[in-house]
Every structure is written in C-alpha cells, then in structure tokens.
C-alpha cells in the first residue's frame, strides 16, 4: 500500500489539538515518512485537494459556512477522525447553547450585526458520520499517534474508554476526592490524560469527556450531599469543556441541542 494521505481541518477551536501533531517532536519526521501529509495548513503551504485517506478534524460547528464545509470534508475523506473536546462535544464554546447567543454577541462586540454565527456549537458527529472520536482538551499526542497508526494499518485504535480513576490508581496518585474532599470528576471522565490533575493535587475537571457508562448523576449526588458541592458549583462543573456532551447536558438540564 502506498503511504496514506493525511489532511487536517480546523473548525471553531484553539488549534491546540492539531498542534499536538507538531508537538510530536521525536516522531514527527518518522510520521511524515509513513503518512503523506498533504493538507495541514497550520504547518505547511502544501495544500493538495482531496480525496484523503485520513482526515483529522479539529473544532466544532458554529457557523452556517462550517456546517456546509464539514459535509465537503466528509465527502473527501475515507476515514474521518475528530480530535478534541470541540470536535467531539462542542467544546467550551458550546456554553452558548445554554445562553442567548445574541446577548453573547452584544457582550463582546460593539457591532454584533456583523457577526454570522449559529446559536449553538455542536460536535462534528452531529453533522456527519465520524469514524473515530479522540477525546481530550487537548488530546494526548501519544493517543493521536496510536490513532494515526491504527487507521493507516486498517485497525481500530487501542484507546481505552475507562475512567480517569483507573489511570489515577495506576499512577499511584492519592485520591483527591476521598482523601481531600475535592470535587473530582475522574470517576465519570474518560481516561487518556494519565490522571494528570490528581497527580498535581487537583480535582479532575473532566477535560477528556465522558466515559462509557458514566454515572454522572450518582457522582454529583455524592458530591452535593457529602462533599459540600453547591448547586452553582455543580452547574459550572457540568458546563465546561464538554458542556454539550449528552450525559452532562441531561444532568445539568438546558442547553439547546439543535438549531
């Protein structure tokens, strides 16, 4: 098989997830040897047209134009992988889903009438079929490499969908919830970061998105009844980096899903 071609596309995002690819300092040249990076505007002036074997999509859908653009990206891509909290769950910018976007626009811009934006920020998978979703805000670059290798050799990526707690214990952290009373979201958050926050004495704030079989309501009940979490804290905790993720939205209530 010839080298699979790789393209990187950006929607509403901070660029951090695609930067992860450039942050693979040790592996970058080797990766560029096994993949033909044909469209990666952040890094290269070489921007070849599709079709592409593998497309990485960063960012969420927040404009009409992007809603159209993602359809075209899908048409051009054999395997389409979304990367990061924006692309997989709407990102922080999905906080607008819980508010009035025109009020948001007025708060930031003197002339909001020049803006063209949707009332919601939505995950890519709400618009097109996605072949794999890599969680994280930002994604873990080693997981990104695994995903690229997997898709270029035609297998499923070996990305665990268990809790952050699993990594937390394997790393030898002391639980900041049980031993520190901190409002840790590790039990409902998907592994992948290596249980970073508890390793630095702070509660997980859920940036890797929701794990499978997440018991969001049960965890928050405990945090509220036993660890002094207020209603306002609960809402802030639910509505953050993966605000539009379904299990969090359901427990927190509100949040437009469509536009």
């Amino acid at each position: 098989m010839s080298r699979p071609s790789l393209a990187v596309f950006k929607f509403a995002s901070c660029d951090g997830c695609q930067l992860s690819l450039l942050d693979c300092e040790d592996e970058l040249l080797a990766l560029a040897g096994s993949l033909d990076i044909v469209n990666f505007p952040e890094a290269s002036g070489r921007m070849l047209p599709g079709p592409y074997d593998i497309a990485l999509v960063e960012g969420s859908i927040t404009t009409d134009h992007d809603r159209e653009r993602i359809l075209e990206v899908r048409r051009q891509s054999r395997h389409l992988i979304t990367i990061g909290a924006c692309a997989t769950a709407g990102g922080l910018q999905a906080l607008r889903n819980y508010a009035d976007v025109t009020e948001f626009a007025r708060a930031v811009y003197p002339h909001p009438e020049y803006l063209s934006t949707l009332a919601t920020s939505t995950a890519i998978a709400q618009h097109i079929t996605v072949d794999f979703e890599l969680h994280g805000c930002p994604i873990n670059k080693h997981q990104l490499i695994e995903v690229l290798l997997a898709f270029s050799s035609g297998r499923k990526p070996g990305i665990a969908n268990e809790s952050v707690c699993m990594e937390c214990k394997a790393r030898g952290n002391v639980c900041v919830l049980v031993a520190g009373g901190q409002h840790c979201l590790g039990p409902i958050t998907q592994a992948g970061c290596g249980a970073l926050c508890p390793a630095y004495n702070r509660a997980c704030y859920g940036c890797y998105g929701v794990k499978e079989s997440a018991r969001v309501g049960q965890l928050f009940d405990w945090l509220q009844t036993r660890e002094g979490m207020s209603d306002a804290q609960k809402l802030r905790s639910l509505r953050a980096y993966n605000a539009a993720a379904e299990p969090l939205r359901i427990i927190g209530g509100g949040g437009e899903t469509d536009d």
Binding site: L149, S153, G154, R155, K156, G158
Partner: protein, 273 residues
C-alpha cells in the same frame, strides 16, 4: 525458565478464503509444539494489533500444519486476514481443554455447530471419521447465515458421501440455489435419529444458539452430563492470570473452552454473567 507470555514466531503456509468474512490460515508448527487435541486453541499474535484466541481447526494427526479458521471480526483477526504465505505471526499454545471425544466411543455423536463454531469442531470430525467404527451414528448439525457462509462445504459433502457422516444444514437466509433447510438450527433437532440415552452432544456457536440447542436436547431426553459446550470470553493471556475469561469458577482458557454443560448451566442461564 521460558516465558509463557512470549510467542514463537512461525511461518504462514497459506491463507485462503472460506467465505465473505472467514478465512483459513495454515501455519508451520513452531519447534517443539506439542500435539493439540480437538477443541484446543492457540493465541495468535500480530505485532501492533495484539493477540487473539483462535481454535485449531485442522487435523490433530497432521503434524505439518497448524490450521485455523478465522472470522474477520476486528483488529487481530483483521490483520490475520491480510497474511500471505511466508509472512510470520506469533503463536503460543496449545491451550485449554478440548472435546471429550473418548466418552463418545460406542455412542451416537451429535455435533452442533453455528457459524464459525464449526472451526473448533472440525478436528473432532477428522478424528471421529478416521476411526469411524468406534462410534455409532455421527451427526453434524450445522447452522449458517447463508449458503455462502457454509464452511468447508466440499469437505463436508465428501465426508457425507464417503465417510459416514450424517449431515444436516440449515441457513438463516436462503438464496435461489438453496434447496435445504431454512431457519434456526434447533429446528433440526426434533428430526434427528439418535439414542438420547447413549449419545454425546458437542456444541459450539453463539451463546444464544447453544442455550436453545441444550433445551431441545433436554427435551429429547439427553442428560445434561452428556452435553458439552465450547464457550468464549475475552482472553488476554490464556494462562489463567489475566482474569478476563472467567465464568463463575472457571477460567475458560484453562478449564475450558470446552466444559460439560452441568458445570456452566447456572451461569449460562444468568443474563450478563
């Protein structure tokens, strides 16, 4: 001390297609590979993809090749599918307890296979048919998704014609050329001629199929102790150490995959156990 986790590298002799998603992979046995018994399995390893438990589907008396029939279901099996002659794979084995064929001597032998479940039962056929006189009736009941999914078709027909195998096949969905049975395998059991008091039933297939087969056999008067099933669970080590293949007290990799039905009855009948 040899490391029980370390695979041996062995060469691919051939990899050929059986049906849309099933293929047969024949390997050169690695040095010092002990003779396997029917129903045992190997752990096949593809670098980068991992290991998968795969039953040995060939003739136990064939010392020259280790044959596996595999359904392309995901990572490892997908990569195995791509192998070609002279490629190499990792192998550990053989593992587990096979079919208690010796118990069938002088009795009717009922073999019930669903889909890829025929693979671990083919070694039984090789053995039983090569010593045909030891057994009374030998029935093979086979269920397949469609006629095109029937494994080892020619070989089964040959065995039926020449070796005294009684063959009944049913498919879930027929095509224009199919004149045989359509429907689930359990539908064939009432028609079967055999002695419920003097038989041994060996079943391998999807768990739901096995549950219904057992029910039918019980209705025909077969004792639970004469029924043996081959079970499947996730397996990472095949050494009884990774904990994945537990079914109640059993580690299927070590105590199974073939187990007498009475030993698993309670667990098989409990949802999600």
């Amino acid at each position: 001390m040899t490391d029980p986790w370390l695979p041996q590298s062995c060469g691919v002799k051939s990899c050929h297609r059986e049906s849309r998603d099933v293929f047969t992979l024949s390997l050169e046995p690695p040095p010092a590979y002990t003779r396997f018994s029917a129903g045992q399995f190997n752990m096949l390893y593809v670098p980068g993809a991992g290991e998968a438990a795969i039953s040995i589907s060939g003739d136990p008396d064939d010392g020259d090749s280790l044959v596996h029939t595999i359904r392309d279901m995901g990572n490892v099996t997908g990569q195995l599918h791509r192998l070609q002659a002279s490629d190499r794979v990792g192998l550990r084995g053989p593992f587990g307890r096979g079919w208690p064929l010796a118990q069938a001597a002088g009795r009717d032998l009922l073999i019930l296979a669903g889909g890829i479940g025929l693979a671990p039962l083919r070694p039984v056929l090789y053995q039983a048919l090569s010593q045909r006189q030891r057994y009374r009736r030998i029935h093979l009941l086979l269920g397949a998704r469609s006629p095109a999914d029937i494994l080892y078709r020619q070989q089964l027909l040959d065995w039926k014609r020449q070796a005294g195998l009684q063959l009944l096949v049913t498919v879930d969905t027929a095509d224009a050329d199919w004149h045989g049975d359509v429907g689930v395998i359990t539908g064939l059991i009432p028609r079967l001629e055999f002695d419920p008091n003097n038989c041994l039933a060996l079943i391998c297939g999807p768990e739901i199929m096995m549950r219904f087969c057992v029910k039918q056999l019980q209705e025909r008067g077969v004792a639970d102790a004469d029924i043996h099933v081959s079970l499947e669970r996730n397996m990472k080590c095949a050494l009884g150490q990774c904990g994945h293949c537990q079914l109640g007290p059993h580690f299927l990799c070590r105590d199974g995959p073939v187990l007498p039905y009475p030993e698993v009855r309670d667990y098989l009948m409990t949802r999600e156990f």
